[in-house]
Chain length 345, copies 2
């Protein structure tokens, strides 16, 4: 009899209207947002009471259709399995949910960003946050008519937020130099992600200021994963003519892999090898020794991105003023120490 056999039809504004003895339009005026609508106080109360009595819940789908807004945003990240991105998402989600927006989460590792965007557009998302994914390289019209905010990926076309990536590299370099290291290697991701490039640039620049250059052998490229970090470290450890005393990894996953490789090879950390990561994911404090790393405010990054996006959705006209990069901070833990005095003969 009912359209959906297993579900009692939902309460609509019409039901509330009938119950309160007013028209559907009035119900919509009272409940539908705009609080400064001209409705008598008494009527307002009758409607609110009726809605409560019946357990009315607005149908966001219908509302979306008429307003042309879905109150939903999309988030695209490179891979959720990296806890860093999960933190970013968590920051986004918190802000969005508080503002009444829902979040559709897309992992670029499952499905290509292009297809994710197709799906998101079909669902009429109002805007998108794209994290470290090279929005420029998407099909030109894939983002037309959408508000977009980028995280850790600069662009002329869209606003964004970023952490101080060169600063992160500098901090790591400074720390290792301060401990007395001169033989320093770098493990950076092979993929061309802006943040990683900048971390590298800051790191190398700071080394150079102290007259230290990175032999090309000591600049390893790897996928940003634990396994790849492990492999890169193994390669470094196997070097014939002396190994570095310290390694900076462009993110924590790489550093964790490096740490694992050291421990597996019987290389003591930090006595024989100092390691610095970047991001400060929760994992950094799970391993033993705890990972020295450059802390990046992931949640805050996400929260800010969401706030920018929501603000632009409310006032599309307002021009965007570029934000300062979020500061990073060195977290000194157990994987760094002074280099051992030269014992090689």
């Amino acid at each position: 009899m009912t359209p959906r056999s297993h579900a009692s039809r939902s309460i609509t504004t019409h039901d509330v209207a009938a119950h309160a003895g007013v028209s559907q339009a009035t119900v919509s005026l009272v409940l539908g947002g705009n609080p400064r609508a001209r409705v008598a106080q008494a009527t307002r109360e009758r409607v609110v009471r009726a809605a409560r009595d019946l357990g009315y819940r607005p149908n966001i789908v219908a509302r979306s259709l008429v307003r042309g807004r879905s109150y939903t945003i999309g988030v695209v990240v490179p891979e959720l399995s990296n806890p860093f991105f999960l933190d970013v998402v968590s920051g986004i989600q918190k802000v969005a949910v508080e503002a009444g927006y829902a979040v559709l989460l897309c992992d670029a590792r499952d499905t290509s960003p292009g297809r994710h965007l197709e799906a998101l557009r079909g669902r009429q998302v109002d805007g998108i946050v794209i994290d470290a994914l090279g929005a420029e390289s998407l099909p030109a019209d894939a983002l037309d008519g959408l508000e977009v905010v980028l995280v850790d990926e600069p662009s002329e076309r869209w606003p964004g937020v970023a952490s101080d990536a060169p600063g992160a590299g500098r901090l790591a370099a400074e720390h290792l130099l301060g401990l007395g290291h001169r033989r320093i290697a770098f493990v950076g991701p092979a993929t061309d992600v802006h943040t990683f490039r900048m971390r590298e640039r800051g790191f190398v620049a700071r080394l150079r200021e102290d007259g230290i250059s990175l032999p090309s052998d000591w600049l390893r490229r790897a996928q940003p994963s634990i396994a790849a970090g492990q492999a890169a470290m193994r390669a470094l450890l196997a070097m014939k003519d002396g190994r570095p005393t310290a390694v900076f990894c462009a993110n924590d996953l790489l550093a964790l892999g490096a740490l694992k490789a050291c421990l597996a090879a019987g290389v003591r950390v930090p006595a024989e090898m100092s390691l610095v990561g970047c991001d400060d994911i929760e994992l950094a404090r799970v391993v033993t020794p705890e990972l020295t790393t450059v802390a990046v405010p992931a949640r805050e990054l996400g929260a800010r991105a969401a706030r920018i996006l929501l603000r632009r959705l409310e006032k599309p006209s307002e021009p965007h003023k570029p934000q300062k990069p979020l500061p990073v901070r060195l977290a000194v833990r157990g994987t760094t120490a002074r280099p051992q005095p030269e014992t090689e003969r």
Copy 2:
């Protein structure tokens, strides 16, 4: 002039209809799903071509409104920061996205499950997957009219999928007994989660079969987190009258905490202390030594839950036949070994 200043209006079925010289209804018949609608092949092709030329993309919001289905499902998990749940979600997402459904993800740690459900209902989700969250304890009507599938939480009312939790406990016990351990402790979560209770039950039962009972001091309760596992292990290590030679932790996070506590206290793992976790999250292979654990097929769990849900959405009438629990598997790694010969005097 246009309704939304920054966005060119989307292409609708009306536009396609005009372009193809047919009515909107015909366009809808061709593009709107039902492939066995009576439309001449030539017309069909004209419409498809027009749609392609114009870049038509169906407005899922409008479709949802008329069909009373949103092609969106909700997923509620206890906490995304536990990678196990992330894997479950990833399994759900994969199946759902392939079937054209979107997933709204809710972390019960941000916001209470009740409020999440409110938000999900407002968005007219068609169904929900609830993971290990005691759906029974929700407000009675919170799930009315929704299809629900539970993960790792049995219920008379809704279908579900689960892993073989007692089996996991038994496997862990068997492994430790096989190595010769007799002084065995257990760290289980304090929260009343069915899966955890069952893991404990299977574990204790198997020990009892070998005539071993768990002194109440050696049955520690903790929040299912790394920090809590660490604290629980510290407590075990501080025991006056002899400590256990092996500990089974009800999930990997606890085990990782326990491992950390051992290493921090200078207790060698596995020489002086064997540790077994449960879940087999990726992290288990990051720490050194790698964690011996009972592998639970998280992604598969999620995928099955999603398949059940989608199937019920397609044919609501079909009765659900209970599934067998998914088998678990012991992954022997580096944190377990034979106990040291008694060296205490």
